[in-house]
Symmetry: C2
Subunit: 303 residues, 2 copies
Amino acid sequence: MKFEVTILGSSSATPVFNRNPSAQLLNCKDKFYLIDCGEGTQQQLIRFGFKASKIDVAFISHLHGDHYFGLIGLLSTMNLNGRIKPFQIFAPAALMEILEIQFRYSETSLRFEIEFCPIVADEPRVIFQNQDLTVETIVLNHRIPCTGFKFTEKKRLRKVLVDKLEAANIPADYYQLLKKGLDLTLPGGEVILNADYTIDSDVPKSYCYCSDTMADGSYLESIRGCTMLYHEATFMDDLLERANVTHHTTALQAGLVAKEVGAGKLIIGHFSSRYKALLPLLEEAQGVFENTALALEGVTFTV
Amino acid sequence: MKFEVTILGSSSATPVFNRNPSAQLLNCKDKFYLIDCGEGTQQQLIRFGFKASKIDVAFISHLHGDHYFGLIGLLSTMNLNGRIKPFQIFAPAALMEILEIQFRYSETSLRFEIEFCPIVADEPRVIFQNQDLTVETIVLNHRIPCTGFKFTEKKRLRKVLVDKLEAANIPADYYQLLKKGLDLTLPGGEVILNADYTIDSDVPKSYCYCSDTMADGSYLESIRGCTMLYHEATFMDDLLERANVTHHTTALQAGLVAKEVGAGKLIIGHFSSRYKALLPLLEEAQGVFENTALALEGVTFTV
């Protein structure tokens, strides 16, 4: 099952040459989910060969511009390109007001529906579910209300032991019921115990996105044990004081968070424009959590 | 005197790979003026080596997103980079509301002042003057209120004939008065007639920017005789009907406008995303107005 994330932007507040503001594209079973949408995201999608028309849902962490200024342009382009299927947006409530005022003054009447789902950043909640994914908010600690997102694969069906089933002459018609964990009674009255013919599937994988936050430990339970963690690392640890004042995280802190929650892998991003070279940030995080990577634009990580 | 314009974006409504939405940077005597500001303009400034901090004025033609979605990000970055000097914006009144709502929800308190000057698109008006330039609106005919801008150099001082002045022993202290066209009476009573010692300066140059419009002839008097004309050319003339419906111009029409008003040079831009190659648009305009160029990004045109 495909479950991967592509980095579209990795810069913090101000853009840098060849570093765009925050945006990521999650691909789960060839369904596409946008996570944050900084200015220029639609250009980044073109650059990396993704079709905006394939994205049906966007999750916006908070209303600092480097996380959403690109959304209005993306929606406008979708409209001009003839989109008619609905587009779902999870974001702080005020974003809808910001979008609507701009559509109003440009006399834009969208041909598709925006399904807007306001996020309240008070406690972790499940905000989205489909057959592939569950999405929960992660309540972060930033200067304005801000949530991260935890994307968890749906619990997979049990694996059927085909050889054993065939040997017992159990028809394939029954496999779906067995995958769902049910015991069976065959027409002749024979009882087939599920446990004899199936095994548990792999543990569902999860991807946590922690956009802008102080590393104050308040959200650790929401991300504990995740398969892959994206965590902002705006500064290096010599600027810890600056990180605290601006409610951001250092690369060292991001590494410590990943270690503390037992993440499988850490990706750091949201780099301050002061850093031309990113290797020192990577090394700082790797000093405490080795399996760390940089959120470089265009790179796809498999969860 | 430096009077030149650099193309930052040349795409119409939807961006294309390597073609950004409308934005231009006018440099007049090393003062910088932004003309329209599509999404990604701040990245384009970085790309072409311009400092946003040097821009003090923006002129926004209308409130279709491909002409202003980049302004909020540019202003946010200026603020984060410590700008304190005021920034002046000429735009339709509603833009201020659009900016304010976004600053409010991001809890951004700008450290610099926005001097907002609403444009009314009813008749041509002088909206800006300094020692170098006069800026007048051009009332265009688009789907929503839209103005172009005519930038005219201030009438230059007269040229003094230094050799003749020196031969007559007229002290250099008087040159400034002569440049301003005044006759002089020297301390001994001798009268110096301005016409004997100066000649007229060159005719002031002018740059006209016609962003989005039908080529319906309504604005020709505003741009007559300009030194350089930027005119949108969204479509080729085989799509004239589509141009009329959407209130846009074809490349052929743009050429005819330049010819009709006796422009010195024509630059065409705002190309529809359907055109991968732009040469056919250039050739169509050149068929009626030879001195035509494409608004290619990063290219600087001297007025």
